[in-house]
Assembly symmetry: C2
Homo-oligomer: 504 residues x 2
Amino acid sequence: MFSVKKFAIQNGNSLIALMHEADAKELSLFSKDKVKVICNDSKAFLICDLEVFDCDKHCNLTLKKGELGLYEEAYARLTCSSKKRVSLIPAPKPKSLEYIRKKFDSGREIKEEEFKLIIEEILENKYSDVTKTFFVLACASHGLNDNEVISLTKAMINVGQVLDFKQKNSDIIVDKHCIGGIPNNRTTMIVIPIIAAAGLKIPKTSSRSITSPAGTADTMEVLANVEVPLTQMHSIVNEVNGCLVWGGGVSLSPADDIIIEVEHPLEIDSEGQMIASILSKKKCAGSTHVLIDIPIGKTAKISSHKKALELKRRFEKVGKAIGLEILAIITNGDEPIGNGIGPTQEALDVLSVLENKENAPQDLLEKSLQMAGIIFEMAKVTPKEKGYEFAKEILESGKALDKFNQIRDAQGRKELSAKTKFVEPILATKSGKIVSMHNKYISRTAFILGAPKIQKAGLRLHKKIGDTVKKGDVLMELYSESKLKVKYAKAYLQEHQEVVEIKK
Amino acid sequence: MFSVKKFAIQNGNSLIALMHEADAKELSLFSKDKVKVICNDSKAFLICDLEVFDCDKHCNLTLKKGELGLYEEAYARLTCSSKKRVSLIPAPKPKSLEYIRKKFDSGREIKEEEFKLIIEEILENKYSDVTKTFFVLACASHGLNDNEVISLTKAMINVGQVLDFKQKNSDIIVDKHCIGGIPNNRTTMIVIPIIAAAGLKIPKTSSRSITSPAGTADTMEVLANVEVPLTQMHSIVNEVNGCLVWGGGVSLSPADDIIIEVEHPLEIDSEGQMIASILSKKKCAGSTHVLIDIPIGKTAKISSHKKALELKRRFEKVGKAIGLEILAIITNGDEPIGNGIGPTQEALDVLSVLENKENAPQDLLEKSLQMAGIIFEMAKVTPKEKGYEFAKEILESGKALDKFNQIRDAQGRKELSAKTKFVEPILATKSGKIVSMHNKYISRTAFILGAPKIQKAGLRLHKKIGDTVKKGDVLMELYSESKLKVKYAKAYLQEHQEVVEIKK
């Protein structure tokens, strides 16, 4: 029997238990072993990763034989009424590992009940980083068929919290999502206030950037707090009809949050897991009707029309199976939507559209109105073909801006400051017409400049596809707080002339 | 700039740096980030995984702003002349991840230079558990061609230490290895003393069990210390011609040790990585001639003759490419070799053979003599067809036993005690002839009884394939320190009647 002692160490979602080496030896346990810590009173338990403490004197920390140290996350999650008396046994291997092995070895379909167990065991911390990666890669290497995506989506919803904003059963709760890959493209921050201003509820959660220079959550964070707990999100949506919060903060689909932690370093985003991830979150957020944006373009995530259509079909099919009405649209992903890249620069574009400024990027404005219009039509707020006009009216009347300000205030307003120490123009090296832009290289440039960690860092495009330029014209401006980063970004652009392709 | 503080926490080969939350905030760093800790004096560096300390008062440990806590393994490996002044930057992503991604996505061949970088970056701790798993699974899912296995083997040797036992260039240093999968099969502990008694050098390292009830290192550990540092292994072999030590303790192929840590929980042992793992260790141990044992059988690792021949071809080809003479032999893997299963029970079998006892298991005796004979012939100690007789002479004369005792003494002798609290006979449920035994289920039974963690736990077969039994005859005896484990093992045997198949 052990007595628990709290250690003030954060371990990034890992659950760590620290044991005295004498106890570890007695129990034949080693560092990195998984152990099950059980409250003697309530029989509640927590599976932790073991570390061994081995110092008897002159140490910076103390842990006696018979004491079990729990790092912050583990301490918070172990819900004993008294942490003075806990027991400990080696944790069994996850039972569901067998299904993953079969999938990896032969591509065998994972059944609904099997996905359920996999997701439950992941959430119980029975999986390590190694076995979580096994799961992600087994699914990615063979792909998931429609049945599997549906099963995985259901399994994720099963362990999440499902919000409910409906007052009566026929109420429609809307949402939108873009599969990503296009720089800026911040339609969300314009669509949500337009929709909410019309009285529809739209409980939107967004992700932070992984490898891009900004996610919607990073951009919104320039203007408001986005780390909002679930209960507050619920009350904000009830109060002002919409929100723009960080998905990781509300943890609507906790299994997905854990799986994504593994996918990031791999830069793997397999189709089946992407669909399950997106739709499980929408379902948990309480939506009934969701618009999905699938941009296609040579340097977008999806480059062929055929693949885009297949993805659209799958989104709509999986949606139907879990009781969501999904409409997926295929949009132009040839170049960034909007001109600023990086959190602050993107926020400036969003504000200029909401404020009906003349210099607002027209592509961002148009796309946002079209999407808001489709959502109005899906929700039968307007008849077919009338959504766009209705959205435009709301935007031009200033009601969308008012609604956006209400959302900022409700989440916790922040004020924007855009000035950076270094501003560097990039000039056209020849005259001609711009025929293509490279989404990934543009993103990478802004990333090198410091975005999204440095909010103000990034760049602003002065020209887009179709524009005619003369040699020496400014193509874009770079912004950074670091001279060295400006130097690196310029060198990167030099090496990647295809970022902006000019043809005579 | 930081001042380093040591923390008495073992993290199982992870390199952990603990940072005050104020510093982490200032540097935009989070738990689990990889950071490069650089000595200000020597510019030596170490890549660590970050954890964040966030307590100002009433804590069990103290870490001030400006201090960097290093856990044991990291502290030992950071070689600054003064640890008072170190700098810290975010660690770059491994450059070699790109090659792994291409392999995973399309099966593209990984080139020699690319394997070199992958292995170097793994050793520099630039890889996390997630990305290490990516490497293992990318290789496993597409398989490695001969070129790739050769490149990987060379890359592993490149970062290891190569021992040299030769006095002149033409000296022959021998070794043997079995690909595993057959319970007991402890030929190594008999072959090494026979070979060493004849004056040949045989620097043998073995692995501990992963999922089996005992590896050779676990079994040898019953009789002697096996955790011997590299320099001591070197002097033991020079002194008594052979050793039987745990490979993980000498770390001949450190990259392989790291990769194996990931393979274990996945229970993946892909052919290409297995060959590279085995042969890199043999090369680093200073061998020139190696005998490889490939058992085939319905429940062995390899079940078809065709696959066994292909594996033999690959071992021999890769060996040639790295300057090793390899002979791979295909042996009978239909049932356990020897009768005891579990460290202590297997050690008893080995001793009975070395001591020329009448009750010694004849299959273990014969196989050991045959293998030792082949090694004598490979090393031209005897002419062709004369090796077996020579090996038999050495064994029967007692010289092999003397040599084994010398090795035990040199490594640190331990005495065996075999008595367990619980002994449970398993009886034949019908009469007939034993036609098959299931290697994996027999292993699993011994594992359930507590082997290898509990050395004495395991079982002893009283009958083997070909034996005639009557209903009620003892098929095997189970040994355990725990009544509950005996109960579980009996239930497991009940469920798996094919463990011993009896036909009328």
